[in-house]
Symmetry: C2
Subunit: 409 residues, 2 copies
């Protein structure tokens, strides 16, 4: 953008999610333990050029929402009480920029306002930027997607009247963006009927501000969580995202380095980004985070000494202190069993169980993995191969019930 305009966002989140079939409004449904709306706020939080995020919530959910904002550290968020319909809620959100509100400090009127649903958590900065730029140029802009099904009009007797040509129609999605004056004026002038039964902001801009919105083909990520199956999909997407990065932490003992190297090689087919570092290079949380220039949720710690979880404890301590935990982290505590030593699996297991129990309170899942060390290169390679499949599965599943267990490769 040539000059940075002031951009704000309004997120209507007052809906009751009846299509989901449950009692919890869908924006508060948990995805890996975290409310859906918190994912959406995180997506907006990553976009530095959006100055204010006005979230419109039902009166009875204001306290819940305050807790969510505090717990996940969402910034630039202003809460506003919703109306009884979607349009009334959005209008309440917009009014805040003019009239202020009772729930917090005043927010400055933006040049452009983005409207987005709380239940479209996978929106990316790129499409937010596109709608914003288009809104500056055209007054209004909205994300659209091709129709998945043909749309048909029914006659009053419940029969087919006609079907619409798929190529000429689009599904109107979110985000949408407007020059603030365009959409605010439209809401001021629209009818009570519009406020009660309308659904489409682009329509209001057209009808009451004579502004033809620019339609932008959006990526599939902008999809709206509507049904229970969408929550399943959201959970799988989040799991996949946070399983992309893995850090292997090893000390400088010969066997640890050897195993670390083998795991590094064998984990590559399972996990996109794998890095290995020496434990001496990760004394602070900053060290851990700098590995991937961002949040990493997965760690493999190689412990060499018999019956001890020293390296793993160091990492969980670092993670606990920082409380980065937007999602559960996984620490796989790898131990080596040497044939010449009488292996004491049970003793190791006790240490891991204790560590896991403690860490789980901070949403860190610790799993143990015992690798039978072998001097035979190809045997060790086989075990590293098996160990990597186990590690990848533990990271992918992220199952709390299995924390503290000791796997064997």
């Amino acid at each position: 953008m040539e000059r940075r305009p002031r951009v704000a966002a309004v997120l209507p989140a007052g809906g009751c999610g009846e299509r989901l079939g449950g009692c919890t409004p869908k924006q508060y449904c948990a995805v890996l333990g975290r409310p859906l709306i918190s994912l959406t706020l995180e997506a907006f939080g990553r976009v530095g050029w959006i100055s204010d995020i006005v979230v419109v919530v039902a009166a009875e959910s204001v306290d819940l929402m305050k807790t969510i904002v505090r717990k996940y550290g969402h910034k630039r968020v202003t809460l506003v009480e919703g109306g009884v319909t979607r349009h009334r809620s959005i209008f309440n959100g917009l009014r805040v920029f003019i009239e202020g509100h009772s729930l917090g400090p005043a927010v400055q009127t933006p040049e452009v306002v983005i409207i987005h649903d709380a239940v479209r958590p996978f929106v990316e900065e790129d499409i937010l930027l596109q709608v914003t730029q288009s809104a500056r140029q055209h007054g209004a802009a909205g994300a659209v997607r091709p129709l998945v099904s043909t749309v048909i009009a029914s006659s009053s007797d419940g029969c087919l009247d006609h079907s619409l040509e798929r190529a000429k129609h689009r599904a109107s999605e979110m985000p949408q963006a407007f020059l603030f004056d365009v959409i605010y004026k439209a809401y001021l002038q629209c009818t009570q009927y519009d406020l009660d039964f309308g659904t489409e902001c682009l329509h209001l801009a057209l009808a009451y501000s004579q502004t033809k919105a620019k339609l932008l083909e959006a990526p599939p990520d902008v999809w709206k969580v509507t049904y229970k199956r969408d929550l399943y999909a959201a959970e799988s997407i989040v799991k996949e995202r946070i399983s992309n990065h893995l850090c292997i932490i090893t000390n400088m003992k010969e066997e640890a380095i050897q195993i670390g190297f083998l795991l590094h090689e064998n984990l590559k087919p399972h996990i996109k980004h794998v890095k290995a570092i020496s434990s001496s290079m990760c004394k602070t949380l900053h060290d851990l985070q700098s590995i991937f220039q961002g949040q990493c949720y997965n760690f493999v710690c190689i412990n060499v000494k018999e019956s001890d979880v020293e390296e793993s404890r160091k990492v969980t301590d670092l993670l606990q202190t920082a409380n980065i935990g937007s999602y559960p982290s996984v620490v796989v505590s790898v131990h080596l069993a040497f044939p010449e030593q009488s292996s004491n699996g049970m003793q190791k297991l006790t240490g891991i169980r204790e560590l896991a129990k403690e860490a789980q309170q901070s949403d860190i899942l610790v799993y143990g993995l015992l690798i039978n060390f072998s001097k035979d290169e190809s045997q060790l390679q086989g075990r590293a191969h098996e160990a990597s499949a186990i590690i990848a599965a533990l990271i992918k599943d992220r199952t709390p019930a299995l924390a503290g267990q000791l796997m064997l490769a």
Copy 2:
């Protein structure tokens, strides 16, 4: 239905699934290892009153499809080569009932033909019956769903022209059903343009057979797997479905019965249908299947004797013999460790690993679970509680990489 009409189905499955972003056409994408289209064929296979299922596949996929039909034992299926567009494929499917085809025996012309997508695997008998009955009455009928997003029409400059009133429009889904003569005549008479660019069978029936289709509000299950996220959702739905039933098999030893009873109680919050039976009552596969009057994919076997997997082996043998495996089965091999005996965890583990390795070839996942037995009632209760959470997680995740591992409660 008063008189049973002859009903057949045509499943167009020639598409290339470009919206999924992968190279595999989506009907062949794996859901828990099983091609999506096989789920759809299973759904139709359960409906006894559909006499023929004509699957229209691309020429290059005929062999693959034959393998799928054989592997999963689909009955009443006729394969037909597809055309270059959806409508041409459906037409090819319909022609088989009149002209016969080269790939197999003739099929009899039905009174009603159901058209359904191969990539809508969760269709239920109820909606199939509804469209069939409506088709007999009205000549044509189709499943519809409310619109998730507002539909808009764009002008030639890529701007909003107008938005459609959501309440008056529906998404046209599948299944649809037609009197055979109605839809066949429509395909015979429609234009080349229709065959190349049309998408909607209901439209053809209206335009060329003057038949107004009855629209039936369908449950959300009829949804079409379109994007990658839909595959995630499908996988979660299948996992949930096959995790609903659990059979606990125990012998008549006192401790086994006690643990079996505790697990039964503690598993109920996790798994909808839990039954416990004595191992003497399950000597044949028929015994196992009769427990739930249908397929059960989850078993807990309680082994009392030290370092032996006898009960678990019996069950995996039964499952292996029968090869019911449409999906991977889970067998949790529960073992009791008694404080007065020197527990030999490693030896038990060896037995479980061997059994698991063998069983995995038949798609049976064996996991070990060691419960420290205690005479103290409340301590044992606590362990049964933990054990149940582990069992539920193993069943829910169904992770091949963890087969053969020994968990501890």
